[in-house]
Amino acid sequence: MSLPTITRLPSARLLSSLLLHHQHHLLLPSIAPLTVPTRLIHAEYRRPGKPKENLWQKINIDFSKGMKGIKKNFTLLKNEFFDRWVGPEGKPILEHMLEQNRVVWEFRGPESLEHWTLSSDREVGGQSEVYLKLGKNSNTCFLYGTLNCTPPRDGETRYSGYCTMRSKQPLASFDRKKHHDWSSFNTLHLRVRGDGRPWMINLATETYFSHQKDDIYSYFLYTRGGPYWQDVKIPFSKFFLAYRGRIHDTQHPLWVDKVNTIGFTLGDKANGPFQLEIDFIGVCKDYAHTEECAYEMYKRNPEV
């Protein structure tokens, strides 16, 4: 006797409609599942109202892509192996010791924009827009868009309106996490041209516990609106520790030997267009600056 073959199970809607009409008479096979899952991969929480996305259409399975990946990873591995013989971070020790300035991010071509991720409150249902493109003569990056502080109507969000650009985590071969080691430097140096709006610079360092995942060191960047470029130097000691926008009670100095990402956020509650042009982001060593942390911790409780 041949086993009954179930080639296609009826979809959930059909079954539920059947159930409604024939609640007492329907006999479903007890071994088969009630529904066929239409989405096997759950990417992230889908807010109500957001359109369902079919992830299978986005995945690109291609042999040439695989070969490119293998080549890239093995090249990175080979470089890591041979850079060791040159010196720390692939530079000779004298060069490492003499280094006082380093340009970390520079925008000289379209591939430099791939190191940056944009996001705005559109992800949570708001209406701000943010775009990134290369500036004139491919010399700068141009972050622009519109800030809209109308909160999304989902019944739980009260405030909204933010746009941010964040650098991607540097990766070593085979997608292992790598960190920026800025321990020879103590100041962040940017050259920007803004429109007068106050931005926040966020530095995310490597953390260990899962509850520290969103620990970010922030400071402010006040831009002038003029046509002239602005050189901004912020010592790392000025950055304060915050978690998801809430400032920590106990402040710690920023340890720059494992920096993961830098980000620029705009959230100044002013509706309207914005733009920020960045020439370069670098780090430098200011020998005259000896402060380790700008925020004193006062003793609040009797010391044990």
Binding site: M97, F209, Q212, W255, Y287, V304
Partner: protein, 348 residues
């Protein structure tokens, strides 16, 4: 930290190690190790910085794992042989397991990966306690274990010297360099453990002296990276001239003290017909020597770009007591002629 709390913790550290020294029962020895671990945890976490807490957590997890393995090994030994004496462990299984547990405790390769990260998260004085005092108790137990599996100790030793050398090559953070140096030196100690335990003890004491002076030098200069070490000429010129010699002593160059253990160990290994192991160990010492040489170069042979606008710090009164540093630096530079006396002194 409150001085009473600090005193309690330091006394507990001393108590733990002394308990382990004085015990012949595995449980008492394990208890001493646990007291050591628990006493140093608040010392490591006192600054409350996220990286210090991370280092403390990693340290606690590895040490607890090692202690659990050690307890399991002693339990297995008690089951198999019916007694808990440390020196009468005669079955190879618990001996190997205990050796591996103690290797994890002290940071021998391939169980060394926790050590650089943990040392990096600590300040220099706590790192000093971790690198020196915390090695005493586990090494005492290793010294008392009967060698069952001779190749295990040789493999641990050679791997440690090689990985200690290679791992430290491109570090710019001084604490990570000292962590890899610790692994390398412990490798030398363990290489000769089964042939001449007195040499292990001698190497340990000399390593403790040299590491003590290194940490104190870095603490005095308040330097944690090679770049800040390079500006130490303005802080204490005498130390800047002696510290390179001390670093070369760590690297095992004659006529400094650090040459003594390496020479005696190579001699012993050759006598035991382990010439290839001796050659490999000697070659791996070159790797470690390279990064010590790099530190000496940065400290003494370069004038770092530095525009000090105020009074040079060496003109001002010293802020730290330097007597312990003076004693240990003298010891780590000039004890080579006393080799016969020291060998006789440390013969077990």
């Amino acid at each position: 930290m409150n001085p009473y709390v600090l005193a309690t913790l330091l006394f507990s550290l001393g108590l733990g190690t002394t308990l382990t020294f004085a015990s012949s029962h595995w449980l008492l020895a394990w208890m001493g190790l646990e007291i050591n671990t628990l006493a140093i945890i608040p010392l490591m976490a006192q600054h409350n910085h996220p990286r210090a807490i991370e280092a403390t957590t990693k340290y606690f997890l590895t040490q607890a794992t090692a202690a659990a393995m050690l307890l399991f090994a002693s339990l297995t030994n008690a089951w198999l042989t019916g007694q808990w004496d440390i020196q009468l462990m005669s079955h190879p299984l618990p001996t190997t397991l205990a050796s591996l547990a103690l290797a994890l405790k002290i940071g021998l390769a391939p169980l060394h990966t926790w050590l650089p990260e943990v040392l990096q998260g600590l300040d220099l004085p706590t790192g000093l306690i971790l690198s020196t005092w915390q090695k005493l108790a586990p090494l005492t137990l290793l010294l008392q274990l009967q060698p069952m599996n001779s190749s295990l100790l040789i493999i641990l030793g050679l791997t440690s010297t090689l990985i200690g050398g290679w791992g430290g090559l491109n570090q710019t953070q001084l604490r990570k360099i000292l962590a890899y140096s610790s692994t390398a030196h412990l490798g030398w100690m363990v290489l000769v453990l089964q042939f001449a335990p007195s040499l292990t003890f001698l190497t340990l004491i000399i390593y403790l002296t040299m590491t003590f002076s290194t940490f104190l030098t870095f603490n005095l200069n308040n330097s944690t990276t090679i770049n800040t070490l390079a500006t130490s000429w303005a802080k204490a010129p005498v130390i800047s001239s002696l510290a390179p010699l001390m670093l070369l002593s760590l690297g095992g160059l004659p006529p400094l003290t650090g040459f003594m253990p390496k020479w005696l160990i190579l001699q012993e290994l050759t006598k035991q017909d382990l010439a290839p192991a001796a050659t490999l160990a000697a070659l791996s010492a070159l790797l470690s020597l390279y990064f010590y040489l790099r530190l000496s170069y940065a400290m003494a042979l370069t004038m770092s770009p530095n525009n000090l606008t105020g009074t040079l710090p060496w003109r001002l009164l010293p802020s730290q007591h330097s007597l312990p540093l003076a004693i240990s630096m003298t010891a780590s530079l000039s004890l080579l002629p006393l080799t016969p006396a020291l060998t006789a002194l440390f013969t077990l």
